[in-house]
């Protein structure tokens, strides 16, 4: 691994000057130390990449995948923190590499295509409208994160899975318990997993008896026709995977998106004047988010050269997607938020064969929330000074504890 200044490994997460600011170290690292040594909260060490080209090349290399417990790779969180998701628990029966992974990915991918997601737009808009109603009914100031950001993605996933609307809030709770490493103990996370597994088993049995036109129902129908037959375990873990990948990430992003756009209210006013900028604005806030978590991990099963440096097999690499998103070699004025930026090849959804499968879904959810808020609450503003917003470190993605707003 590369030598770091004074042999002192930097600790992740890196400190920042404000809740929405990028760490000052990123620019320095990209210039002088593109392969740095860092210490994760677990105490384990990893190689930390910050340049766009290095990260894109590594993530595009099909030889390297996310580490699992069996690799003996660096762990994010200390032993005992987090639930079954935290350290790549083997109970997640979805193959994470090779042909089996590709097959699973394509089974799910067909339900997350641009066209299918576009067809979900009216349903998402109805959900966003009703959540904004709740925000207004609860009075000012309201917490946009708790009232809109947190429920919306889980409601969309419930619709996608074919879970009845009255069970949405149970899904919210389970998902939070799987992922919120600071609020729940390992025991609570495991209990939630058991409840979720029981619920999903009953749902899967019902869908096997009478498959509806939803993701689980269609997976059952397709796999029966293929003669492959997806097991109940795989269906359960598909549901789990959608919550893990699609809830905390999007929920936090909704809160951060609104905060970034209101932090300098000329941004909000620009969107009010020209709502056609919503598409590029959403991708620009995705690029600009400096609190996206530690980054994507890769375990090196063999030696590989990164940025002119040889990284030995056995190394765990952490790719800082947010640092790459501010690489001046790729983005003009990377420190400026440009709501019209296009093309915007940010790497917030990763790159290569494991790039986020739900990115059309996530983009569409963010666009729908933003359009709905601009239309319904044009006078929206932060109810506290930006610097009083508090960051939280999630397992997969960082966020803000609350997003207090007035309108």
């Amino acid at each position: 691994m590369s030598p770091s200044p004074n042999d002192q490994a930097m600790r992740l997460p890196l400190p920042t000057d404000g809740p929405l600011e990028a760490p000052a170290e990123w620019q320095e690292l990209r210039r002088k130390c593109p392969v740095a040594t860092v210490e994760l909260p677990s105490g384990d060490k990893a190689a930390y990449l910050t340049r766009y080209d290095d990260i894109k090349a590594l993530l595009s290399d099909p030889r390297f995948v996310r580490p699992t417990a069996a690799d003996g790779a660096a762990r994010i969180a200390p032993e005992g923190a987090g639930g079954p998701v935290a350290n790549g628990d083997a109970s997640l029966a979805i193959a994470d590499r090779g042909e089996a992974h590709l097959r699973w990915r394509r089974h799910i991918g067909k339900y997350l295509t641009a066209k299918r997601v576009t067809a979900l737009r009216p349903g998402m808009t109805a959900i966003a409208e009703s959540l904004v109603d709740n925000l207004v009914d609860q009075g000012q100031p309201g917490d946009l994160k708790a009232t809109v950001g947190f429920p919306l993605p889980v409601y969309v996933i419930c619709d996608l899975l074919g879970a009845p609307a009255e069970d949405r809030d149970r899904f919210s709770h389970w998902s939070d318990a799987f992922l919120n490493i600071s609020r729940y103990t390992t025991e609570e996370a495991r209990e939630s997993y058991t409840e979720f597994a029981e619920y999903m088993s009953a749902l899967i049995a019902a869908k096997r008896a009478e498959p509806g036109d939803d993701l689980i129902g269609n997976l059952i129908k397709d796999s029966t026709e293929d003669g492959e037959g997806l097991s109940d375990d795989l269906l359960l873990n598909t549901g789990m995977g959608l919550l893990v990948a699609g809830h905390e990430t999007t929920a936090n992003m909704i809160g951060k998106m609104v905060s970034m756009l209101l932090a300098d209210r000329t941004r909000w006013e620009r969107l009010l004047a020209d709502p056609s900028l919503v598409r590029t604005a959403v991708d620009e806030v995705l690029r600009f988010d400096a609190n996206f978590g530690f980054g994507v991990r890769r375990y090196l099963g063999e030696d590989v050269e990164v940025g002119g440096e040889l990284l030995p097999g056995g190394t765990t690499v952490v790719c800082s997607l947010s640092a790459a998103n501010r690489d001046e070699q790729v983005f003009a004025d990377p420190g400026e938020m440009d709501l019209t930026r296009a093309p915007n090849p940010h790497m917030t959804f990763g790159a290569g064969p494991h790039a986020c499968l739900g990115q059309s879904l996530a983009r569409t959810e963010l666009q729908v929330v933003l359009e709905t808020l601009l239309r319904r609450l044009p006078t929206l503003r932060l109810a506290v000074p930006v610097e009083e917003l508090q960051r939280v470190e999630g397992l997969l993605v960082g966020g803000l504890r609350t997003v207090p707003v007035r309108w």
Binding site: R105, G109, K110, A114, K115, A351, G352, P353, C356
Partner: protein
């Protein structure tokens, strides 16, 4: 402008379809890219360039006339 796509690289993100639906589609059975217009009309060129630039799998190649 001529466009080619690499199905083996495609990760099914669907960005190309959102940006240039007249040029790109996704297969119904697995979400992998389908090229509808290998030589897109000039009014599509800017969307196609954007789609190629943001493709997370770098699966779209453009051959622009010199």
């Amino acid at each position: 402008m001529k466009v080619s796509v690499d199905e083996a690289k495609c990760c099914g993100a669907g960005q190309c379809v959102l940006l240039a639906p007249e040029v790109f589609d996704q297969r119904d059975d697995d979400g992998i890219v389908v090229l509808l217009a290998p030589e897109p009309a000039p009014d599509q060129h800017s969307n196609v360039r954007e789609a190629a630039a943001v493709c997370p799998a770098s699966a779209i190649t453009l051959h622009e006339a010199p």
